[in-house]
Symmetry: C2
Subunit: 209 residues, 2 copies
Amino acid sequence: MAAADQTEDRRLTARGEERRRQIIEVATRLFATNGYHPTSVADVVEAVGVGKGVFYWYFPSKEALLAEILRSGQKARRRVQRDAIAEIDDPVAQMERGIRAGMEWMASHRDLVTLIRFAATEERFTEGLRKGEDIAAADATAPLRRAIDQGLIRDADPDLLARSIVGVTQHLCATLIHADPDSDPSPVIDAAVRFCMGGILGAPAPTTA
Amino acid sequence: MAAADQTEDRRLTARGEERRRQIIEVATRLFATNGYHPTSVADVVEAVGVGKGVFYWYFPSKEALLAEILRSGQKARRRVQRDAIAEIDDPVAQMERGIRAGMEWMASHRDLVTLIRFAATEERFTEGLRKGEDIAAADATAPLRRAIDQGLIRDADPDLLARSIVGVTQHLCATLIHADPDSDPSPVIDAAVRFCMGGILGAPAPTTA
DNA sequence: GGTCACCTTGACTGAACGGTCAAGGCGGTA
DNA sequence: TACCGCCTTGACCGTTCAGTCAAGGTGACC
């Protein structure tokens, strides 16, 4: 355990960094297309065009590679979303911009959305995933809470609202944009934003309980 | 290929039907808990307490078992949803009841939700899955279209609305109810219904494009 | 008691997997 | 030139897996 992460503090040259990046890129595509388990390490190194030892020079295990892909993906999406809402004051406008930015990011990183959804189905990966999702939910919770306090949107659990938004954007991205990668994602993005804003802003009380 | 489905038209006694049901039940739980690939056929038959040959008496392959689990699960959910809205006239009320019924079904069949979400991440299973999801979306599309025609809800692509609803309900079920199986799902269900009805009924036009 | 179709057993097979390693190349520095 | 640390090779290992099969049990019906 203690020495298992020898590959982590390895000092890489520019060439090494490039190789590492290349493995991550190829593996992400293969994992998302054929599945994580059906894709062998041999498949990855063959697609890259190198020997098997190269893989284990840069990553301690196949599982660690997936964990890194997930971690860096979640981190990148968070940064995009935070940057998108940084200079906005109105919390409702913040939500709208944040949803749109998140959806745009997902649309151009569909493979990562697939992998995140896969990881959520296997207990071995859910813990590492939950941390990132909790952070993402917390990011959205702040403006939601402010909007509720200011009476701009209906009173509801901000966490449930945030996770509802994730559900809509992730599913639309995975189902529709993924189905036809060449189609223009913007109508889907617009629809997702409209739906989410409607869900947040509120609607007449349910007629039945 | 032609004779590969010999197990399908096998004539089963009551005992055989029971055994088959038992394998499906155990496998569903194991697949959802530990993942489809990490769960071996040996794990399944051991959990059932029978020899390995029993598995291949009832199912031609591990993959076919998962396909059947998915198929029957989607079918069951559809039936529940259709029954729930059968005697309702108002299309908006139909939507609300349908969403609630679907969510309640998912909450009590969490393992199946997990498996459906897993299957969506592997190309080998997506085709069989899409068929069921298209049907489910089409079921929801009909009342949505009527509601739009009657001016009861905002004008939008019914298919996108339907899939947004699936996104919210599935994700909330998988994330929150799954996280703590013992907690009361009804607040989450209520929140999902509220969010979705808000998304359908509409909200002020976006302030930015 | 005999027969037959349904059901069960569990050792076995061939293939594939994740991961290892001894060996060698390669490029920068002195 | 010699050296050294980064990078690469690919045969190899132990294990595990999906799926097979010859053999045997079991119960219903004649």
